[in-house]
Symmetry: C2
Subunit: 378 residues, 2 copies
């Protein structure tokens, strides 16, 4: 088989030294144009590619970015991180990096893997997806000065909004803006009693999503009290909690949910209550759970019961569920962008969108806006 082409082979063919070839690759401006062309011709003719291993030995840089692949938990939300991973792979490749995967059951196992990886394959950086309250991984990495970016804000001690100084780079999607848009859409459709189905207080992501809904109602002069249910993430949990909101003395007519799992449960609840006669379907029943309430207390007779989910998963698409969609490819590109900025700090006079010129003058985070995908369920 064709044996490996080395930088020496290229040098010989171009009639120059190893170092000159190396310079053509890494610092072309140091090499005279004529020489450069000759070397480039040789590189092309021989099909030379620099050995990562040798390069890494000398420079200490592996051009590898490590990230974790999660088992899809309930199988619905898992697809979000998979799409993110795909975007990450593509963006990293464009920037000259490759993605190295690892699996880990819990935080302890993940940190063990950090240690293992840092010692052996020596990735240049880590990307941590789905941060959580009390997440110990950022601190571990920071102590060792290992570059990393999180997809997800560092949720402060209060369990609420992000703290002012994150101390590390992150990219996130503005969940509150997403639920606000969903709520706004429902208000525009004429709904007033719009409920929220989310997770128990204390989860950063969940509280954020709830806040967007609440503030939009308040801005409209509607008191969100009593329109809110919190439960674990799951289809069955969602159905149960939605049922309570639908059977309250003053029932809701629309529901914004913190996940597609919950929203799917809510759709089931709506269907089931209708089928058992506890809600009256006055219109034609479609396969997607779009029903019409008639004769309920409150003045919104004739409005369809709408449900909006979060994450725009394949399941949402399959069952016709409206949902808030995260720009995952952009989020991934943002992560890679922040990382490369960490590796080679940009020159001071760099152009860039004026976001939050922090103390050190560099933007270290990125907050993206989600979009609302409307389907039959709303």
């Amino acid at each position: 088989m064709a044996t490996k082409v080395t930088i020496t082979d290229v040098a010989r063919r171009a009639g120059v030294s190893r170092q000159t070839v190396s310079n053509v690759l890494n610092s072309p401006e140091l090499v005279r144009e004529e020489t450069r062309d000759r070397v480039r011709e040789a590189i092309g003719a021989l099909g030379y590619r620099a050995s990562q291993a040798a390069r890494q030995m000398r420079t200490g840089r592996s051009r590898l970015i490590a990230t974790r692949i999660q088992p899809d938990r309930d199988g619905i939300n898992g697809s979000v991180l998979d799409r993110f991973l795909h975007g990450l792979t593509a963006s990293a490749a464009q920037a000259g990096y490759r993605i190295l995967l690892y699996a880990a059951g819990d935080e302890r196992a993940e940190i063990d893997t950090f240690e293992e990886l840092v010692g052996s394959h020596e990735p240049d950086a880590f990307v941590l997806a789905s941060t959580y309250y009390g997440d110990g991984r950022p601190a571990w990495l920071r102590e060792r000065r290992l570059p990393f970016v999180t997809f997800g804000r560092p949720w402060g001690n209060a369990g609420g909004q992000a703290t002012g100084d994150p101390g590390h780079a992150w990219v996130d999607v503005d969940g509150a803006a997403g639920t606000a848009a969903a709520t706004r859409h429902l208000l525009d459709a004429g709904h007033r009693r719009i409920g929220f189905l989310g997770w128990p207080t204390g989860s950063g992501v969940g509280d954020d999503r709830r806040s967007g809904w609440a503030r939009t109602l308040v801005a409209e002069g509607i008191d969100p009290d009593g329109l809110n249910q919190a439960t674990d993430d799951g289809v069955a949990d969602g159905e149960k909690a939605a049922r309570e909101l639908l059977r309250a003395e003053r029932p809701i007519t629309a529901l914004v949910c913190a996940s597609d799992s919950l929203a799917l449960g809510a759709l089931h609840a709506v269907r089931s209550l209708t089928a058992s006669g506890q809600l009256t379907a006055s219109g034609r029943l479609t396969a997607e759970g779009r029903l019409t309430i008639a004769g309920q207390a409150g003045g919104e007779e004739g409005l369809p019961v709408s449900v909006i989910g979060f994450d725009d998963t394949p399941v949402a698409k399959a069952v016709g569920l409206s949902s808030v969609s995260q720009p995952l490819a952009e989020a991934a590109a943002g992560c890679v962008g922040l990382l490369t900025r960490l590796f080679d700090p940009p020159s001071p006079g760099d152009p860039g969108a004026p976001d939050d010129p922090g103390a050190d003058g560099s933007r270290t985070h990125l907050l993206l806006r989600p979009s609302l995908v409307l389907r039959q369920s709303s």
Copy 2:
């Protein structure tokens, strides 16, 4: 920060030479027990880990396995490969390998990526998921003697069964056995007119799945002719095709599908025909599309119209669709197993399940049995 611990540091602390430390790691049987213990103590105390880059330079082995991450096409079937990928990552880690990801739009781009990777990061092997008819990738890799395994049989020129001599290692799931089990289940439930909804002839996977259904009917003395529809993979396509089978002069009462996408479409068709009165629901309508036919031609009155999908995706779980489940974690483990066998050929007198002792005496493929997951839809 603590500077990198090298093999020399360990050697110094243990009072031996570099090579002895290396031997403790790679060929412990060469080292006297007492020395071995002393070296191991030093390794532990210093937290030493061998540098992959340096090791790779000398041995030419990167302990990296490259595989592609696909964008989830229709969003439903994508999850299958994601689960496979997760299994692959876990199995590879156990065998001391890491997964390197790449993305590529088409075959041409993928082969370019092969070339790029082989030159730079030099993965020890490739795993190709989802092979197809006329797949050019295996030939490319084989020509260059690059080790690889495919998840999916090499589908022969006839577009039908696998050829006798694959020429490379593969792991696959016996799709025909899966549809056969599904068909058998429906027969046991009393169905006779069991349809199949699949893809156009020429796709290896699709033809395989169809054959399991057909042979099971034939074995029962039922002629499969006219019970079969072929269409592109997609929910809308599936709904359209299912509709035709349901409205035939002698309609089917159950349907086995080549994918969950098609099955989901079929469920919609059943629902929709029922709602419009073209099928009569004689029982209680559940949310999952389980209906009962009454008064149709044929003698199977009162049987529920059953639908069974393929792949057991999250969507199937969400909508209560029975489905054939592939053992993806085992398939992934099988791929890693075959690869490690390629790297270090096993000693001749090795124990192993008697499968197909090929000409060279080594098993180079693995065919796994799927299982049937029953839910409300059947």
